[in-house]
């Protein structure tokens, strides 16, 4: 436990010392927030955005985007770089169990995602006066489920991808597809059916809706919750099998 907390604390400090990763993680959702907010304002329209204002709709999606960019870009790059440089070899040679290394990444991601989520929420409230969550407890629950699921997904990518360059390239492509088609881009109502199909295939869509539903007062989405948990279980099991120290 002491090791887990210490490793988490060190990893958090390392994250803060890596300005590019930090700017990417925190700035990307804020840029989208202000661009989309500037274009669409936050007036409800019954035909799009599930009948709420654009930014009421997007804020939960951008919170999910923070989770997505941590897990799909940050974590795979982190793990592949550690593997390439021999950091994982060094960890492996010490009596530190694999679950401690994974666990510290879960905690670090939770903290970073929470900071990013609060940042997005505060900015959206101040700039566009969004409505606060209808069911805050459920939103927090959905947020945590989303982080757990995506961290497992990110560790899986980090276990599968051979190099840092591959992780950077694939991570960016994945996050852009997820962002545009998974629910943080154009409203579903205006997408073609192919676009919707691809959107349905991106894990981020389920996290977005899982957070969005209780935020907007649609309650807890059990079906999507099970999908999110399913992704977590499958990704965890695969990561355990496929993880490579070198």
């Amino acid at each position: 436990m002491r090791t887990l907390l210490k490793l988490t604390w060190v990893e958090l400090k390392l994250f803060v010392r890596e300005p590019i990763t930090m700017v990417f993680t925190f700035a990307l959702p804020l840029i989208f927030l202000f661009v989309m907010g500037g274009v669409f304002k936050n007036n409800p329209d019954p035909d799009v955005y599930r009948g709420v204002g654009a930014i009421d709709y997007y804020t939960p999606a951008y919170i999910a985007l923070v989770i997505g960019s941590i897990a799909v870009v940050g974590l795979p790059v982190h793990f592949t770089a550690y593997r390439e440089r021999g950091v994982l070899r060094r960890f492996r040679a010490s009596p530190i169990p694999l679950w401690t290394i994974f666990g510290s990444q879960v905690l670090v991601s939770l903290v970073i995602a929470a900071v990013g989520g609060v940042l997005v929420t505060v900015a959206a409230k101040l700039a566009f006066n969004i409505g606060m969550p209808e069911s805050p407890g459920l939103v927090i629950g959905a947020f945590i489920a989303g982080v757990l699921s995506f961290v497992a997904f990110g560790i899986l990518l980090g276990s599968l991808l051979p190099t840092t360059r591959a992780a950077q390239g694939l991570g960016l492509i994945l996050i852009i597809i997820m962002l545009i088609l998974g629910g943080a881009g154009p409203p579903r109502e205006v997408m073609t059916s192919v676009m919707r199909g691809v959107g349905d295939a991106t894990p981020l869509r389920y996290v977005i809706v899982l957070i969005q539903d209780p935020w907007l007062g649609f309650g807890w989405n059990w079906a999507f919750f099970l999908i999110v948990m399913g992704i977590m279980v499958v990704a965890s099991l695969l990561s355990r099998r496929l993880f490579r120290w070198e």
């Binding site: 090791t3 070899r89 060094r90 010490s94």
Partner: protein
């Protein structure tokens, strides 16, 4: 002496390349055991198999009564590792790394003391990526020691250290042994092996070719010493008649007499008898370098 490491018929191949071929040895508690050989000899593969960091094809390994294949985590609580190819995160600070690695086990040493011993105190707040090669190496060695291990594995520990730092490192390794820690030292430096190790395994192309104390190896495999002096006399036929002398060669005024055992004293006495008193008479003792050449037919830096 209690044996802390036993390796029997270890074999490990990478595809068709047999990196370790039927290697057997044991290490006694409290000794500095050296594994010496040229690059590519299979040293790293051997010690990483022993530490449970690489799977191997066949053979038996026991370390402190544990099987590295099945008891990896338990074993790593008892040993310390400085790996040949490893690193820390770029932006981790020296003190953070020591603090982190000392948190892995309850019986860790005081890392401040280690940091001072290994000359890292003024680099305490420097990030890993800003350290020189030698400083990184010393940090990695300090990390191997921070858990107060029963056995410490050092793989090319002095690679990247300048000569002064190497000698400091040797003294520190001896001090570690004085505290009762067994040291397994992998190196391709002859002088390091000769000065530091109690016993030495010489490996070449995956095979263990000799195992003894450094002096024992020299006595067995390089028993010739060389007496060297300068003399203007052109003709010294009587030199060859001296007992224990094997050969005499001249390079201008420089005379080299090769022989065994007490050859120096006999040559010196004989020179005086013939009225020759060179002021530069000296012997060149055989070193591990000669042992290595004699056993393998090539040097260690090929």
């Amino acid at each position: 002496m209690k044996k802390v490491i036993e390796v029997e018929h270890l074999r490990k191949a990478y595809g068709s390349l047999v990196a370790v071929n039927d290697v057997s040895f044991s290490v006694a508690e409290g000794e500095i055991f050296g594994i010496l050989g040229p690059n590519g000899a299979g040293k790293t593969t051997t010690v990483e198999c022993v530490q449970g960091l690489r799977p191997f094809d066949s053979g038996l390994i026991h370390v402190l009564g544990l099987d590295p294949k099945s008891d990896g985590i338990a074993l790593r609580q008892l040993i310390g590792s400085q790996l040949q190819e490893s690193a820390l995160p770029d932006r981790i600070k020296v003190w953070e790394a020591l603090d982190l690695f000392s948190s892995f086990l309850p019986h860790s040493l005081n890392w401040c003391e280690l940091m001072n011993q290994w000359g890292l105190a003024e680099k305490r707040n420097a990030s890993f990526s800003s350290l020189s090669g030698g400083q990184r190496q010393r940090l990695l060695v300090a990390l191997a020691l921070v858990n107060n291990p029963k056995i410490v594995f050092l793989d090319e520990m002095t690679a990247g250290l300048d000569p002064a730092a190497r000698h400091v490192a040797w003294d520190l390794i001896r001090a570690i042994r004085e505290r009762g820690t067994t040291v397994v030292l992998v190196t391709h430096f002859m002088d390091e092996a000769e000065h530091l190790c109690d016993r030495l395994a010489i490996v070449d192309q995956g095979k263990l070719v000799a195992l003894d104390t450094p002096q024992g190896l020299i006595t067995t495999y390089a028993n010739q010493s060389k007496v060297v002096f300068t003399a203007e006399h052109t003709d010294l036929p009587w030199l060859k008649q001296i007992p224990h002398v094997r050969s005499v060669t001249r390079h201008g005024p420089r005379v080299e007499v090769e022989g065994t055992g007490p050859v120096l004293a006999l040559v010196a006495a004989s020179l005086v008898d013939h009225g020759i008193v060179p002021s530069d008479l000296r012997t060149e003792q055989p070193t591990l370098e000669d042992v290595f050449l004699n056993i393998t037919g090539h040097g260690a830096h090929n």
